[in-house]
Amino acid sequence: MNIADFKKKFNSKNTSLVQRIVLAFIFGWLALIIITVLSVNLSIKEKVTEGFYQSEEKHLLMLIERVENAFEQRKLILQQLAPLMLENDQSLIEEKQMSDVLKIAQLSNLFQEFVVLNANGVSIGQYPFNPDRVDIDYSDRSFVRTVMETKQGVISFPVLGRVTNLPSIFVLEPILDNENTLLGVLIGRVALEKDSLFHQISNEFVRFEGELLILDISHGIFIAATDINKIMQPVQPKSVVSNIVDSYNLGELYKDASKDWIYSIEKFNSFEWVIINLTPISTVTELVRYYVVDYLKIILPLIFILGVIVNIWVIRIFNPLRHALHQLENNLLNHSKYSSIHVSRADEVGRLLMAINELELMRDKQEKIKEELLSNVTHELRTPLTAIRAAINLLSVDNGSISKAEQKELIALSQRNSDKLLLLISDLLDLSSLSQGRLVLDMKKYNLYDVVFEAVNDIESIAINAEIKIYLESDDLKVFVSVDKFRLQQVLFNLLSNAIKFSPENSTIMVKLIVDTTKVSVLISDQGVGISEENHRMIFERFTQVDSSEVRVKGGTGLGLAISYELIKEMNGEVWLKSYPGKGSTFGIDLPVVSNS
């Protein structure tokens, strides 16, 4: 699959890494935002509710104090008034006088009416005057009796006035002479539906559609309420209010038909009363929302900006990679010459890009080697061909400019060069087969010593021509190997002729067989110029000889060593070299020993 196909196949799936990371971040950011909003909502709600309750509690306690003070005040007034109903501290004053005193007292506006009862509980004086209230017996009222019996002041529970029929609380004070005999009762009526105290309170307190209630819990009736119609009504069992009173806990409550309420409740100290404040829950939630919005108005934009910045930062981290990818794909699609990707940071991405650069360089290098090889091969083939063609052309000249002797030489030359060409071509084919793993070897068991002996014999004449002596030595005269005899001889011939080529005149070449438990080595040592360490590897490569790659091959095809190396490898052996400049060279062939069975 090439790049173009790859891209096409995955285009629809949109697998950009960067996009996926950005999406993940966006998702994370959204989650973060939602969590923030929820938690802010929650914590602010708690705080607001808490604060709400605290301020409610304060208010209610304050109200209780005011109501109790108010009643205290009224009680005091009556306590001061009571003696004024006496003459000489001994008997009650006349009704007319009573009226006058009470009239003045009424100016304080603390009571709607005053009534004075005699010692039997019958009304004998009042202000303002109401004819229905004359000579009425009040002794059936429990609180009247209590005063008469205990001779202590009393505050009644809420009742409907006998005469007025209005919801009232009565403040009663005994009228006592200086011997502590009860002479009468002074009563002041606090009008629940009109009394400024309660109205004042409920007006003050009404806000956000809430409700303020004061209950007498011992009698189960409403004393005061934002809704006047509730006054004196009994508290219904299982109603919202009844439940509140029963549980007497602060808390969020109650589903009414139309509303959810939260309430605060406090007990009075001097009376069996409670004061309740009901607030619709929407008040609190409104407040919460207000604060939340306020807070989020700042936080959310910050989170958003932060998110954007982080996203940009993350994308930028990937920029070198994307840039490099782009460059790489371009290179591949356009087959343009590879230009190294610039790497600015040694992180994972950077290292990947460096590795790619390295790979490309290696590939480039290999391409170059291949090209060089091809160039070398064509060159090597053309050279003998040149000679043959030129020779044939010259042979076709028959005008006498070329002598018979010269013609003979031209023919010999052609033969030499066509042999050379043939050799070269077979070597090239060998090498090609070897590198593709297609060379077929005919492996059989042979006595290595015999094979080497033959090779040394065959090359004797060449050695003599070059005035070089060859000696053969061996640990064993019988050592068996599994080889392709023809090919092994090819290798031996190559190494021996090399040794001869590179040996000075009158020098010696030593051929030694060394036998080991597992392997046998054939060593061919010459006394030539030697090969430096750095060139050891190079000489096994094709077409090279020591000096430089530009140097003319010193006879031969230049492929011999490369082929020898590969052939011995195919025979499970190894060709190696030991040499130092100026100290000659030793080429070695290692082969595994096989048993003679």
Binding site: H379, R382, T386, R389, L394, V397, S401, L410, D547, R552
Partner: protein, 123 residues
């Protein structure tokens, strides 16, 4: 006076062919050297009119040799021909091609070689 062609070529067979082409067919005089050092030494005494230099020489290649030869004032403008079997020679030596008056890629036609050289000698 017959023009003297100085050939620096290490392959003896090619030397022989060149001799037949230039002397027998072309009527020139030839002088041979097998490598750069030998060539420079011979130049002390000889006075060639044209150089034929093979690219693949031992120890220094044809371009290096020509540059060395050109250092000598007498030969700074001597006509020269590069001979090589390397088909990609122009890639290998690049602009150095221009140092030579001609680049001949082997195989060369011996029957025509003399004619080509004559052109450079203004004959």
């Amino acid at each position: 006076m017959k023009p003297l062609i100085f050939c620096i070529e290490d392959d003896l067979d090619i030397q022989f062919l060149l001799k037949l082409s230039l002397v027998n067919l072309g009527g020139f005089n030839v002088l041979f050297a097998s490598d750069g050092n030998e060539a420079l030494k011979l130049l002390d005494n000889a006075k060639p009119d044209l150089l034929i230099i093979d690219w693949m020489l031992p120890e220094m290649n044809g371009v290096q040799l020509l540059k060395k030869i050109r250092k000598n004032n007498d030969y700074s403008r001597i006509k020269s021909i590069l001979l090589t079997a390397k088909t990609d020679i122009k890639i290998i030596i690049g602009d150095d091609c221009l140092l030579f008056d001609e680049v001949i890629i082997k195989p060369f036609d011996p029957l025509k070689l003399a004619g080509r050289i004559a052109k450079y000698l203004h004959i």
